[in-house]
Amino acid sequence: MRNTVSDGPRTTLTAFYWAFILYLLLPLTLMMAMSFKDANFVAFPIGDWTLDWYAKVMQDKQFLEACLYSIMIAAASTLAATTLGTWIAMLIVADGIRGRTIIFALACLPAVVPGMISAISLRIFISTIDMPTGTAAIILGHTVHAVPFVVVMALTRLRSMPRNLVDAARDLGADGVVAFFRVTLPYLGPALLGGMIFCVLLSIDDFVRTFFLGGYRPTLPMLIFAKVQGGMSPEINAMATIVLVVTAAVGLYAEFITRRARTR
C-alpha cells in the first residue's frame, strides 16, 4: 500500500535525484557526443557523424606512448603500494604492537592531505635527497598516495579473518611465512585485487603530483592537458572518451570483485 501522505516529498526527492544524475551525466554525454562529430571544432550543431577521430587517436603515436607510460607508472606504483600497504596492515593487526593507532594515522595521512600540498612536499622532498624529477619520482609520489587505500582495504578484510585460521595453519606445520602466503594472502586476495585496481585508477588519473614530479615524458593526463591548451578538437573528446570508458569498466569490475568478496 502506498502511503499518500508521504508521496509528495517522495516525488520531490525522486525529481531532485534525477536532476542530479542529469547534471552529472550531461557534460560527459556532451563530451562523448562531440567525439563523433564530423567537423574540426567542438560546438553544436553536430551535423554529420563519424568515427574518424577515433581512428586518428589510435594512430596518434604521442597518445599511444603516453598511454603506455601511464600504464607503466600505474603498474609500478600499484605493486609498490600493495606490498607496502599489506605490510602495514599486517603490522597494525599483529599481536603486541604498540602505537597501532599512530601507525594507522600516519599511513592514512597521504589520503587526506590536499593533492597540491602533497605534490609540493614531495617535490621538496625529492630535491632534498637529490632525486631527479621523472619516472622514479612519479612512481614514488603515486605510491605514497595509494598506500592508504590499500591499508584500509586490507585492514577491513584482515579484521574479518578468523584468527584461528593462521593458528590452524601453524598447527598443521606451517611457519609464519608459509602461513602468510598460503592462508592470509589468499584470504586477502579479493580485497587486495580491489585495492590494486583502485591504485591503478588513482595513478592513471593523477595530474597534480605528476605535474610537479614529472620530467619531459608526458603521462596521459599531461598529454591531454597540453592538447587542450593547443585548442579544443573532437580528437581530444575521442581520447577522453576512450579513457573514460576504459577506467569506468575497470572501476565497476573492481567494485564487483570487492562486493563478491564481502558477501563470501
Partner: protein
Amino acid sequence: MEPVVQFDNVNKSYGKHVAVDNLNLSIEPGKFVTLLGPSGCGKSTSLRMLGGFETPTSGRIMLSGKDVTRVPPNKRNVNIVFQDYALFPHMSVAKNIAFGLELKGFDNQRIHRRVSELLELVQLQDYATRLPAELSGGQRQRVALMRALAPDPDVLLLDEPLSALDAKLRQQMQIELKAIQEKTGKTFMFVTHDQEEALTMSDTIVVMNKGRIEQMGDPNTLYGRPGSVFVANFIGETNLLRSTVISSEGDVAALNWNGITITANPGGLTPRHGEHLYVVLRPEAIHCSAAEPVSGNRVKGKIRQRVFKGNHTSLMVEVGGGALLNTLVHPSDVAQLGGEDIWLGWKPETTTVIPDRHAHN
C-alpha cells in the same frame, strides 16, 4: 605405559590473573581424555599450551617423552580441532585435509591416498572438491577432524568442537567421534563445559575449576563417587544433604539431616560426633512409593512440583523444614503413588559422603 602427554607443575598467568594453577596431568596413549569445567576455568588455555600457542609462565610440558614447553606449534606433533573449525575458506575439502601432509613433505601419491582414506572414514568421498562454505555444519566438523588427524599427530586436541552444532547432531557426532577415536587408536584430548558430553565419550574426565584440577577419574567414578561438592553439582543432577554426624562406626555413620536420622557409608573417612558432612544423593537413587519402605533411609514428603521429561517425570518433594528433594519416577508409576503425600526411600550405599572442608569453592 609411558604417558604421551605430561604437564609438570604448569602455571599460566595473564598479568595478575591466574588462568592455570599448578597443573599436573599425565595422559596415557590411546585414551579419550576430557577436560571438563565451567567457562573460564582454564581448559582452553591448557589445551593451547599443549598446542604451542601459549607459553606456560612456569612448569614443563612433555610430549611423547620430549620437553616441548618452548617448541613452536609447527614443530610439535599435535593437532587441534578448533571450535569454529577454522577451515581454510579458499581451499577445497581435499586441499584442506592435504595441507598438513604437504607441509610434512609427502609426495602427491601418498597425500592423495591418505586424503581418500580419511574422507572415506567419514563418508565424505563425494565432497572432496567442495569448498567449506558449501558444506553443512556437521560436514565441516568432520573435515576439520580429518584435517587434524591427517598428519598422524601424537595427540589430537579438540576445543569444544561440537558446541556449534544443534542438539541432535551433537549427539550423533559424539558417538561418531568416539567411534573414530577407537578405530584410529589416537589419544584424544577433548575440552568441553558440557558434562553430558564428557560422560558420553570419555575414558577419563578431568574436572577443572578455577585453573586447578578438582577431580580426575573415569565417568562412573566421577558420577558415582564425586570427591567434592563442586564435582557433585557439576556432573549430573544431585541432592546435597548437609548433615551432622551423630555416631560413626566402620562402614556405617548415623547422621542427622534436617531433623531426620539417616545412615550413610563414610567411605574412608572417620567422622567425629558433631562434624558436618555432605551426603550426595542422586535423584535416580531415590525410590518413591505410597507405602513406607521397610528398610533403608526413608522420609515422608509432599510433591510440590512435577515436570514431565518424556522418559521420566521429575518430582520436587518437600520433606519438611522447607527442604526439597529432587527425584524422578517412570511416567507410568506416577499414578501408583496415590496422592501428593508419598514416601521417599534410598539405600545408604547409593550415597557418597563429602567432608565439609572440601565443600567450599
